[in-house]
Symmetry: C2
Subunit: 178 residues, 2 copies
């Protein structure tokens, strides 16, 4: 999976680069490890934000945090930095021999959405798959427009669709693997 | 549901009172709202931590945050402060006419666990139900011993069972309502 910090939209629909949140890295790495993902790409073009990610990883993966909490080390070891979405897909192509199928997530339903049953079929194919999650107010239209699939939104029945990205990742990965 | 800050255990199994994390309140309130819960009890006996919760609610439910983000207000409005678990169950009894069935969650499997299918049957009964989640390293044994049910842990197949409480709540509520 990839957590995209740019291009995403703000409250007013403008394309921005969002800041990295440390807790996103921890929570999402732990969920990714729980459900057996091979990699968790943190995508940001901002050099200072990349440096923040490197410092977090230096502490928890190779520094004193790794001794203090080996379970956290195992989870955060899944993280790979990427400057853009294309860098993440190129990295996957290099590692697994084929460019991934890309699947965008959104709180909004669009045409030709993929449902969760079909998601399982897609990720079980030979080709690697990359699930995209947007920070801030979600993935920018330019990302939504060029992915292979758009996943159904998570709906709880009451019409409220404002989950944190941490909750959305947790629910999507759980639904995918059960 | 209730998010318990005491009694919970630390890394070494000692009973402690954990600090309140602001992001727990936001993330869990948003998931609770998504899945139609009636209340989200934040349980802490520490006066300074109760004050922190009150300040967060003052900003987002009645203050400037409520105008800035009405969706966040709707979610955080579900939060009720309770000094102890008994205060939360007493509040529920007063509101809904009967003491709730209590269901504890844990990353560890214990005897007589309730599975997720049976969880749905329990919460669909006439009597109100209260799901308990522990912060820090989880609910203390004294809580686990006196609840009506203990829910199955969330398992991803690989044996890694170190989800954040935010992820655990998200997955349990999603599984419960689908």
């Amino acid at each position: 999976m990839a957590l995209i910090h740019h291009p995403v939209v703000d409250k007013n629909g403008q394309t921005i680069a969002a800041a990295v949140t440390a807790l996103d890295l921890h929570d999402i790495a732990r969920v990714s490890k729980t459900f057996g993902l091979d990699a968790f790409y943190v995508v940001t073009p901002l050099e200072d934000q990349q440096e923040l990610v490197r410092r977090i990883l230096a502490h928890w993966v190779t520094g004193v945090g790794a001794q203090y909490n080996p379970d956290r080390r195992d989870a955060l070891s899944l993280i790979r930095l990427a400057t853009h979405l294309e860098a993440a897909t190129a990295d996957m192509a290099g590692r697994w021999g084929a460019a991934p199928v890309t699947i965008a997530t959104s709180a909004r339903r669009s045409s030709n959405n993929l449902n969760f049953d079909d998601l399982r079929s897609v990720v079980m194919q030979e080709r690697p798959a990359l699930l995209l999650f947007g920070t801030a107010w979600g993935l920018a239209p330019e990302v939504m427009d060029r992915v292979d699939f758009r996943l159904d939104p998570i709906e709880g029945g009451g019409g409220y669709n404002h989950l944190s990205v941490r909750s959305a990742v947790s629910i999507v990965l759980d639904r995918m693997w059960r």
